[in-house]
């Protein structure tokens, strides 16, 4: 068995390797890794041109995972994602053959998920939840580890289909991708005006089996009862703060918060979960699971502001 310290060192190496391609965005890189460790999915929200696709591609490359990309459009059909039966004439006779869609990968990037129709959303979300797809009478299991990373553009909302609260709840994290700092942007501009990202050589730090083993290790991570209680109380408080929150987070959020805190502890090389881990994971776990009240919106409070206020209490 790999020791916790060794895991920490290897995750540091992952960060170093990603940093060869993506400059800055350390929090986003860490949260994507945690989502992979928790066997969860993440919704990435950020403006165009912030290296979201590049980041996901790089991470999947370093983790030695099969990567595929789906572009969300209004005419995207569920069969375009899951795959369909085609007529195969290669053996001299016509027979139906299943042609797997892009969902059959380890890391699936669904770009601009809110541009796809609700029917397509359902197909993606079913695959996320069940880790299998059903076409006709046949059910196909998706390969583990399976990780969906969907991006959503916070601007240009016209002609989009906003994901419902129930659908959004299935994402472990909502990760906000911000603009890089000035120094970072200068470095990005300098680097990519001289070389191509795909040409940068990256080391493979983990493989699929390592990741599956790490996912089981996350579940084994011990947590003190009072820290578990603290995490659950934080989630419950989102349901009780009616002045700021119209709808609070579900018990699924409690599970997600504890799992994420465990994964963060493992990545940090600790054998126990700290209260700080819970606090650090509160924003990505809860921000898409609460609906601010009219009063909160009137006060220009965002989801993050509300969660930070709850953390201070």
């Amino acid at each position: 068995m790999v020791s916790v310290e060794e895991i920490h060192k290897r995750f540091k190496l992952v960060t170093t390797e990603v940093a060869k391609v993506v400059i800055g965005q350390e929090d986003v890189i860490e949260q994507i890794q945690i989502a992979v460790l928790c066997n969860g999915h993440a919704l990435l929200e950020g403006y165009p041109g912030l290296a979201k696709t590049l980041l996901v591609k790089t991470v999947s490359n370093i983790l030695d995972l099969r990567f595929s990309r789906i572009q969300g459009t209004p005419d995207l059909l569920p069969s375009d994602i899951t795959g369909t039966y085609i007529i195969d004439e290669s053996k001299g006779k016509k027979e139906f053959k299943f042609q797997p869609g892009p969902i059959f990968a380890n890391v699936v990037l669904v770009d601009e998920v809110n541009r796809a129709t609700p029917k397509t959303h359902s197909a993606i979300l079913e695959a996320m939840q069940e880790k299998q797809v059903t076409i006709g009478n046949s059910t196909y299991k998706l390969e583990e580890p399976f990780f969906v990373l969907a991006t959503a553009n916070p601007i240009e909302q016209e002609g989009t289909f906003v994901l419902s609260e129930a659908q959004v709840d299935r994402f472990l994290f909502k990760i906000k991708v911000g603009y890089p700092k000035l120094e970072e942007e200068i470095e990005i501009a300098g680097k990519y005006s001289e070389e191509i990202a795909e040409e940068i050589k990256l080391k493979k730090i983990f493989d699929k089996n390592d990741l599956l083993h790490l996912q089981s290790m996350v579940k084994q991570m011990p947590i003190a009862n009072d820290i578990k209680k603290y995490a659950v109380e934080l989630v419950v408080s989102t349901r009780n703060k009616k002045e700021w929150i119209e709808y609070g987070a579900s018990p699924r959020a409690s599970i997600a918060l504890i799992m994420a805190a465990k994964a963060k502890a493992l990545m940090s090389g600790r054998k126990y979960v700290s209260k700080e881990d819970v606090n650090a994971m509160a924003l990505p776990v809860l921000r898409h699971r609460i609906i601010p009240s009219f009063e909160a919106e009137r006060q220009n409070m965002t989801e993050d502001d509300i969660i930070l206020k709850l953390l201070k209490k």
């Binding site: 290790m217 084994q220 947590i223 003190a224 009072d226 054998k271 126990y272």
Partner: protein, 262 residues
């Protein structure tokens, strides 16, 4: 039993003893303070004892219900959050927990029991305890009793208010008065005549008496049968009396009896 279980058990036992000691010391201080007050007010020692015992039980339960591992972690930062995690997962086994248990056992060597005893507070409480004990003994020795003063200053005005409000009961006072005269032989002790018509106040010292002034019960009615008195009383001159009276006084005695016989 695992080493970590033994270590956790030791911590629990140590804190139990510490809690008992602290609660006992605080309860003793409370008991002595209440006893001092009860001596002044004449409440009796049973109430302070009951109150102190109740406080002892409450303080012990409250202190013992607190998370002791958290206290250890506060005094030993290297164990922060790890001791609680191990204590809550002591019955589970997997590679991570086992490693954590080993780490915690190693770090528990840094835990010193002396860190949890507050010497300043302990000395202060022992001093208070000694001071209170001395005060109680000293007051008992010089027989200081403020019962009357407290009665006069606090209880009587309260009673007066009560009487005024009720306005149904009449105040009853018992006066024992002694009249002056040549009755020293009848009354016995001549010094009692000095009281004249003043009230005689009788005070019972609770420390020197088995009587408990605080124990006031209902008045029991006693049946009283008067003795069989003669219907008529008369005096007569007895010649034999003259034999014992000097001759020059016999007329005086005779006059006296005739006078009272009228």
């Amino acid at each position: 039993m695992q080493i970590v279980e033994k270590a956790l058990g030791e911590i629990k036992n140590f804190f139990l003893l510490l809690d008992i000691g602290n609660s006992l010391l605080n309860s003793l201080i409370l008991f002595l303070v209440l006893l001092l007050i009860s001596n002044f007010s004449g409440i009796g020692f049973l109430y302070p004892l009951i109150i102190s015992l109740v406080y002892f039980a409450y303080a012990l339960i409250k202190k013992h219900s607190q998370n002791k591992y958290f206290e250890v972690e506060q005094k030993t930062p290297s164990l922060n959050e790890q001791l609680r995690t191990v204590a809550d997962n002591v019955n589970k086994t997997n590679p991570i927990i086992d490693e954590l248990k080993d780490d915690v056992v190693k770090k528990m060597r840094d835990v010193k029991t002396s860190n949890f005893i507050d010497n300043k507070s302990l000395i202060l409480r022992v001093l208070i305890l000694g001071g209170l004990s001395f005060l109680i003994l000293f007051l008992a020795y010089i027989n200081v009793d403020f019962t009357g003063e407290i009665q006069h200053a606090i209880i009587e005005p309260i009673k007066e208010i009560g009487t005024r409000r009720a306005n149904t009961q009449e105040a009853i006072s018992i006066n024992i008065s002694v009249t002056e005269g040549n009755l020293s032989e009848i009354l016995g002790n001549n010094s009692l005549a000095k009281f004249k018509k003043d009230n005689l106040q009788l005070t019972i010292n609770p420390l020197l008496s088995e009587t408990d002034p605080s124990n006031i019960g209902q008045v029991q009615s006693e049946s009283f049968t008067p003795p069989d008195f003669p219907k008529e009383i008369y005096t007569s001159y007895d010649v034999s009396y003259n034999e014992k009276v000097a001759k020059q006084n016999q007329q005086v005695v005779k006059d006296y009896f005739e006078k009272i016989n009228r």
